[in-house]
């Protein structure tokens, strides 16, 4: 699923978000370095990214249970709690400074520049507007059932919309050349299923010096929980250098306001290991086919894993800029730059291994889907 979109305006906010994330990351790094506690990292990326129609969603469970939602809201550390509701139309909506402030303040004041009436116009007096997206059905919402108890006949129509369809997106299949040497890396995702329920696969990794350095495969049950969001529940398997690790995984994946494609996943492994990964990307269209994609990925670990060269806290942040040309929608060669920053203990491990903690890579590859 790609978010191929839209104005450059929003890409500004990506950069700003990146800037917001990084200082925090540094702070978190410092904090976690001083205490060896295993931080529950996943809340943080969502805090910085969080805006959207995710209010009624908790990451682990589909938003059906009222109680669970409430308790999720009450707990500051819960992932859903930090995500404000998308109040596209609600004049009483409080400005959400976190994600939206960078884009010229999305408060009521800003919206009055927009092309619809505000209460000040007088035309809206006494009218209460709900949100145009997401949210919870009001008490007086009508029933969609007009059947009067009448059922279907003996012959059933096939038309229904629950088709099973699949997609495989090899988002990045590239060669890189950086200070730490050159190699190849991949990032791919695929799904198979209906609108509501999909088997979702993801994999990423890299190979250098003729050896698989690092890689993982993830498999999820991906369930639609809101218009733009799926909950994901599954497993991750790490391979490559060091011992293989297996994790239980849960998270959300979807499209945030302003067309940011977002994946946020938390992991729990054996021996009390925890981890989290955040990935955000965005498409800037120079033309309908020439597209620049900034991508940010951050990995967190609750506990160090020296055998894999991983420290606790924020271990690495990657920021890539890839410029592709879609010869067809499904086939696009690209070139780009990728920064890989290792932090904290992970950086210490890297230094000890004689590697750089900041690698800047030139990349070239293809993006293919079918």
């Amino acid at each position: 699923m790609s978010a191929r979109h839209r104005t450059f305006a929003s890409s500004l906010s990506l950069l700003l978000i990146a800037l917001l994330t990084l200082p925090w990351a540094v702070a978190a790094q410092t904090a976690s370095a001083s205490t060896s506690s295993s931080a529950t990292a996943p809340a943080m990326p969502m805090t910085t990214m969080g805006h959207g129609d995710m209010a009624h969603m908790s990451m682990a469970t589909p938003a059906t249970d009222k109680k669970k939602e409430k308790s999720a809201k009450g707990k500051p550390a819960a992932h859903a709690a930090t995500m404000d509701h998308m109040h596209g139309m609600n004049h009483s909506a409080k400005p959400n400074v976190r994600g939206e402030a960078p884009i010229v303040g999305m408060s009521n004041g800003a919206m009055q520049n927009m092309d619809y009436p505000s209460p000040a116009d007088g035309s809206m007096d006494g009218m209460s507007m709900g949100s145009m997206q997401g949210g919870r059905a009001p008490q007086d919402a009508r029933s969609p059932d007009y059947s009067d108890g009448v059922g279907y006949g003996s012959v059933q129509a096939h038309m229904g919309g629950n088709d099973v369809i699949g997609k495989l997106l090899i988002d990045q299949l590239e060669a890189f050349d950086g200070r730490d040497g050159h190699g190849q890396s991949w990032e791919l995702g695929g799904w198979y299923g209906t609108d509501a329920n999909k088997l979702w696969l993801r994999s990423e990794g890299e190979r250098s010096a003729g050896k698989l350095q690092d890689g993982d495969v993830e498999a999820f049950w991906s369930h639609a929980i809101a218009a733009y969001w799926d909950s994901q529940l599954g497993v991750r398997r790490d391979f490559g250098a060091g011992p293989a690790r297996t994790w239980a995984a849960f998270g959300v994946q979807g499209l945030a306001p302003y067309w940011f494609q977002l994946e946020a996943t938390a992991y729990a492994g054996s021996s009390g290991r925890t981890a989290a990964r955040l990935r955000v990307d965005y498409d800037v269209l120079f033309t309908q086919r020439l597209i620049l994609t900034p991508e940010l990925e951050a990995n967190f670990y609750g506990k160090r894993d020296p055998a894999r060269g991983i420290g606790s806290g924020l271990s690495d942040v990657r920021f890539g800029l890839r410029l592709r040309y879609e010869i067809r929608r499904e086939f696009a060669p690209y070139v780009g730059i990728n920064w890989v920053r290792r932090l904290g203990q992970t950086a210490d491990y890297a230094r000890a291994a004689g590697e750089h903690t900041l690698d800047r890579q030139i990349v070239a590859g293809i993006r293919v889907w079918f």
Partner: protein
């Protein structure tokens, strides 16, 4: 090279000829002709175009099979009726009883639905509702009395067969004289053809909803706006769209990227041509038989007098242009003068391509093909309905558009279903617009007189004078990212039937909670559209609901049985924007 898609007003001059299309169907032979039909060649005056033959009478044999076509330079296999695209024109007479034997020569099941025709539901041709469909090798015999007159069409109601060629025109001669006599009479059927398998198109839309859209907003466009409007306004123009993850360029799911638009089975280069003698009155029966394409139709140099909509006579109204949504029909009279040709120009709503033909006094003539109007973006009115129209004029925030009748509309709150808050619904409109006098995105303020529903008045008023006794409100919903479509957020697969009590007169209220047009078609019964004040407006079988619009129409539930009710955008229907209506 013959076969008029035409009929002279003088019955003795009617001609029925089978045709072999050049650009389209290459194997149009072996056609079945109705008993008693005359077969003789008209002068081969229609150049660059040949036509599906017409069949008339009361007994018809139709064969659904495969035939090679080549519209783009690539050979493909189409699914055809009697070997033609479109299938033969069926000419019926009001008051007669017709018998149609449809034989399936395919290896898969098929069906034929008679669009807009009042008939017993077992004859309606919808697999799973009327019957089981027509199995390979089988012949199904349809037989029903013809109780109406005008321009209609027929098509397969099985999966995506309508996209690959299974459609044709129906022209029903009135029992009495034509209300609007003409000297010549042509069917102009518009279709969208793709070389790609429709199953592939559908799966592609599920994988990437905007795959066929090559007009998305770009960064250079943003910088252009910054220069022209300033940063503040350039951002404001985009804020709501980007925040809501909605594209203002979302006019058509499937575009000219894969479609070749056909007029009477001819690509634009094929230039279907209808002949006239200067001074004659020519009736053009437009039928939009597309799977997914809405067309804006005009004939530069000619005024068109609209005399019928969906087969029903209307008070004549003179226009320069009209929008014809999927499955609608529209009859116009034109009076071409002089020894010159005129281009019939039907641009797709997203301006990604057009169908084109010619009216000419002699074969081989052609007129200039106009350039398409610039593609326009959806406006805030298309997103928020009456909310965006409520501003007093002079605010000037409507991106250069002035909504006709905007100020006068009463505010009506939509009543959302509780199922509209789930993953299948990407937006809801709380205060839809109710005006019918908006020609729609891309046609507003274009300097031409463009037909709107507010211009259509069915002659004779409603068929049933009763006031509707109750309302059924249904919302048109969808999610463009997931490419799922539904009523009230519930896909057909998950829905219960909608029950009409036999004999009742009821009102259906539709609110379009999406930013696309949806042509909604109720089988078996008329949809009598009301104006915003609740007064009868026009009688139709397919009503196009514009983005963020609310319409209401009365239905007399006088046809017992099981009927399909759905969006006529083929991929929307298949994705779940459909219901079964049970009248009992």
């Amino acid at each position: 090279m013959n076969s008029p898609f035409s009929r002279m007003a003088d019955p003795s001059r009617r001609r029925f000829v089978q045709g072999v299309a050049l650009g389209g169907v290459a194997a149009g032979l072996g056609l079945l002709r109705a008993p008693g039909a005359l077969a003789s060649g008209r002068p081969a005056g229609i150049v660059g175009a040949s036509h599906p033959h017409a069949l008339s009478g009361t007994d018809f044999s139709l064969a659904v099979g495969e035939a090679p076509v080549n519209y783009t330079g690539r050979a493909r296999i189409a699914t055809t009726i009697n070997g033609g695209i479109p299938g033969p024109i069926l000419r019926w007479k009001e008051g007669s009883t017709v018998t149609l034997r449809v034989t399936n020569h395919l290896s898969t099941s098929t069906s034929i639905h008679w669009h807009g025709i009042l008939l017993p539901f077992e004859m309606d041709g919808v697999p799973g509702m009327s019957y089981r469909g027509i199995a390979p090798g089988e012949t199904f015999v349809y037989r029903f009395p013809v109780k109406q007159s005008g321009t209609y069409w027929y098509h397969s109601h099985t999966r995506f067969q309508e996209q690959v060629g299974v459609y044709g025109p129906i022209v029903i001669e009135p029992a009495d004289a034509e209300r609007f006599p003409s000297d010549r009479d042509y069917v102009v059927m518009l279709n969208d053809w793709s070389d790609d398998d429709p199953e592939h198109i559908y799966a592609t839309l599920k994988r990437q909803g905007d795959y066929y859209n090559f007009a998305e907003p770009t960064a250079p466009e943003f910088f252009h706006d910054v220069r022209e409007l300033g940063l503040q306004k350039a951002l404001a123009k985009r804020r709501m769209w980007n925040r809501m993850r909605m594209s203002p360029a979302d006019l058509s799911d499937v575009s000219g990227y894969t479609y070749t638009y056909l007029m009477n089975g001819h690509a634009p280069a094929g230039n279907w041509t209808g002949l006239f003698c200067p001074g004659e009155k020519v009736r053009l029966r437009f039928i939009n038989g597309s799977a997914m394409s809405i067309f804006d139709v005009r004939i530069p140099g000619l005024k068109m007098t609209v005399v019928a909509a969906d087969g029903q006579d209307v008070e004549p109204v003179s226009v320069d242009e009209f929008r014809i949504s999927v499955a609608e029909t529209c009859d116009v009279l034109v009076e071409p003068r002089g020894d010159c040709a005129y281009t019939i120009f039907a641009a797709s709503i997203d301006r990604s391509g057009y169908a084109r033909g010619t009216l000419a006094p002699r074969g081989g003539m052609q007129a200039e093909v106009p350039s398409m109007d610039p593609r326009q973006r959806l406006t805030m009115v298309d997103m928020m309905g009456a909310m965006a129209m409520a501003r007093p004029s002079g605010h000037g925030a409507m991106h250069g558009m002035d909504m006709p009748g905007a100020a006068m509309q009463p505010m009506i709150m939509a009543h959302h279903a509780r199922t509209e808050y789930g993953p299948g619904v990407d937006m809801r409109v709380d205060m839809p617009r109710t005006n019918l006098d908006d020609p729609g995105v891309g046609l507003r303020d274009n300097g031409r007189k463009v037909l709107t529903y507010a211009d259509l008045h069915t002659i004779g008023g409603p068929l049933d004078p009763r006031e509707p006794s109750r309302d059924i409100e249904l919302h048109l919903t969808g999610n463009m990212e997931r490419y799922s479509w539904s009523f009230d957020g519930v896909k057909f697969a998950d829905a219960k039937p909608v029950h009409f009590r036999h004999g009742e007169r009821l009102r259906i209220v539709l609110v379009n909670d999406t930013m696309m047009n949806h042509p909604i078609h109720l089988h078996g019964m008329w949809s009598e559209l009301e104006n915003p004040d609740g007064q009868f407006q026009v009688r139709k079988h397919t009503l196009n609901v514009q983005p963020a619009q609310r319409i209401s129409y009365a239905v007399s539930a006088n046809a017992a049985g099981r009927w399909a009710y759905h969006c006529h955008m083929l991929y929307h229907m298949e994705a779940g924007m459909m219901r079964e209506v049970v009248v009992s």
